[in-house]
Symmetry: C2
Subunit: 413 residues, 2 copies
């Protein structure tokens, strides 16, 4: 079980979490719990680090910020004890959770589960601070923001858990954002690949890394709400959304649709370079400097000009990187040889996602037709095996999501 | 060097501490720094634990409250780095600082100084969170409130430091409380025994345990102010008060007075039991139940009655334990056989302290005469090798301290 910062923010909420955890133990499960810091605490600690030194040493930054999860893990153990459960905290260095040496964005390499399994077998609930780990030379690391989801999946893999339940402030994964489409339906299940596509295009339920890890380790992940009624039936009735492998999905949800969900991402910006010389290596001169600057280029479209001597190149970058992108390309204009650069931050990416489209043709054309029927102009297109994405005007994003939700027959009652 | 919570309370103050530490390194010293949590932080964390469970598990309490010092140790390392120093934090479990298993009030057993010495020899400033340690089975412990002073002395002993500088919010140890006697003088030096007597009778400069440890390990401790001018001469000129052994004291301070200081303690309460039967074991029936209840009895005076069949017994306990003391003795009235119990919380203990009194007679009589001359009534007397204490009315404490400060010729210019 994993609980985020909102669920751990203060005595009353931690007490509530303890109640939810206790019910799982009473239902016959051995339980390990991974916790985030109280919401706001990590920000407070990061601010202290920045004030100390804007170019802070990430090793010492990790010592400071890892303390937030240490506090909540001890407190949840105390709350569980107050409810009569046996419980103890296991800090990252105590298990240990071994990571690489990339401080402030470490990756988990190995979790020693021996002590954990012995403790759980003895009826103790194990409470583990998320987000933190230990290098080979015994220094504290953290996994980067949102890393507690990854901690939870890694612990679940290490103890070979039946399930990793991630309690969030939403009650599952929906066909699309319910704030945009009132008829959005909660999904019983999605595959890892679908969740990755949904996560990376703006559905902020789970950290992408945690889903990748779950896929790699084949951990069954359930997303569900931490604001459920504590007196409700135990979570074995799976009230949330299960994230599983392709194979398992068949058994869980026979009646699933061709398309699993529709995601919208407004944090994109479009860049058009006109009249780029059409010669070998020209495109590399555009994207190499961006890659070196760690700017993540997403959609790329190349329109060859009529005379086949030059082309227009359109691509998208995160809106927050647009200014840096412009500066880098302006500096390289002579080398690249483009005529003009135009940019537009008022764009949005809409994606339809579903493993079903592997075996069904016509998914993309349904999308294009539905949008055209409502006069929504498509500025760029990209596809993957289980996803079709289009770039449209940001003003039309809500309309487009609603139109597509209906077009793919996702609307609930 | 050790800095308390007031010195570590926020970015600006930690930056100031970093400057003081850097100046010591620039003066040619290898430096280890022990830090407390930001003032208020430990209270905040303790409150969370109490809210979780009033009868909290001290092992989990330790996990929670140890985080405060972890934060400040990382932050001080960052601030030192920002000033161009090499610095790193060493958490209690990283060195490790081994303690017994008495969670929330652990005692340090051993500090492995190998890594610390290697790091310091390489020019790195070692920053160590105070207050925390590690049991043999790798669980976090804390040393009890004020334990960071003890951590500092223990680290100084482990690395065989030339000196342990404890920065506090006073600039040294005075002949008496300067708020009571304007002419109180700062002492250049006191012995461990004197400091213990001064600390235990209300001079709250250092935690008693840290002084005991310094005496046992023969660590030279300097008390000085963390609010010194950073541009002042380096601390080698010893601006504070040195706490040293008897032997070393001679060399440091030839001109010292017979009496080192005068301490006042208002946190005492007096209990009088009248007509206790004068038979063997009678006194034990009074004090055994108090000892079992962990109530610390201080002064005890027994006045044998005129007929030698019963006696009056007067003693003092901490004022905070007076109600429990009354309840315990009331319950035992028949067993003890006293006639009446009277109590008085409006008393104060005045002590004159000095190693010089070992070789000088007349110290006590000077005290009694000076107080009598001003009409101050002595309610009880106790003495040790280097201390004479009297119990007086609490209203007369300031007057008594001033009278004695003059009588022992301690007044400064």
């Amino acid at each position: 079980m994993k609980f985020g910062g909102t669920s751990m923010a203060g005595t009353e909420r931690i007490r509530r979490v303890a109640g939810i955890v206790k019910r799982q133990q009473e239902a016959g499960h051995e339980v390990a719990v991974v916790v985030s810091a109280m919401s706001g605490e990590t920000d407070r600690l990061v601010t202290f680090c920045r004030e100390a030194n804007p170019l802070y040493d990430p090793a010492e930054y990790d010592v400071v910020v890892a303390s937030g999860e240490q506090v909540t893990s001890g407190l949840l153990a105390l709350h569980l004890q107050a409810l009569g459960c046996k419980a103890r905290s296991w800090l990252g260095w105590q298990l240990p959770i071994r990571t690489d040496e990339a401080h402030a964005k470490a990756r988990i390499e190995e979790i020693d589960s021996a002590a954990l399994l012995a403790s759980m077998a003895a009826g103790e609930i194990a409470v583990i601070p998320g987000f933190q780990g230990l290098t080979a030379d015994n220094r504290v690391t953290t996994l980067g923001r949102g890393g507690s989801d990854t901690s939870a999946v890694a612990v679940a893999a290490a103890v070979k858990a039946d399930r990793c339940d991630i309690y969030t402030d939403v009650d599952g994964v929906y066909t699309t954002d319910p704030r945009i489409v009132a008829k959005a339906r909660k999904l019983k299940s999605v595959t890892y690949e679908e969740m990755l596509e949904l996560a990376s295009v703006g559905s902020k339920v789970l950290q992408t890394r945690s889903v990748s890890l779950a896929m790699k380790e084949n951990v069954r992940v359930q997303v569900l709400s931490s604001f459920i009624d504590e007196s409700a039936p135990p979570a074995d009735s799976l009230p949330g959304t299960m994230i599983v492998s392709d194979e398992e999905l068949e058994g869980l949800d026979m009646e699933r649709q061709l398309i699993t969900g529709i995601a919208a991402d407004k944090n994109e910006a479009k860049v058009i370079l006109t009249r780029v010389p059409d010669r070998p290596g020209a495109v590399a001169t555009i994207f190499s400097p961006l890659a070196e600057a760690n700017i993540n280029v997403d959609m790329i479209i190349q329109n060859v000009g009529r005379e086949h001597t030059d082309t227009d190149v359109t691509f998208t970058v995160p809106a927050s990187d647009l200014d840096r992108t412009k500066a880098l390309l302006d500096a390289q204009q002579a080398t690249i040889g483009f005529e003009k650069m135009t940019t537009d931050a008022k764009v949005a990416k809409i994606s339809v996602v579903g493993v079903g489209m592997r075996s069904h043709a016509g998914v993309a054309s349904t999308m294009f037709k539905a949008l055209a029927d409502r006069g929504i102009n498509i500025q760029a297109i990209s596809t993957s095996e289980i996803k079709v994405s289009v770039l449209i005007d940001a003003d039309e994003v809500e309309l487009a999501v609603r139109v597509l939700h209906t077009a793919y027959e996702l609307d609930g009652a």
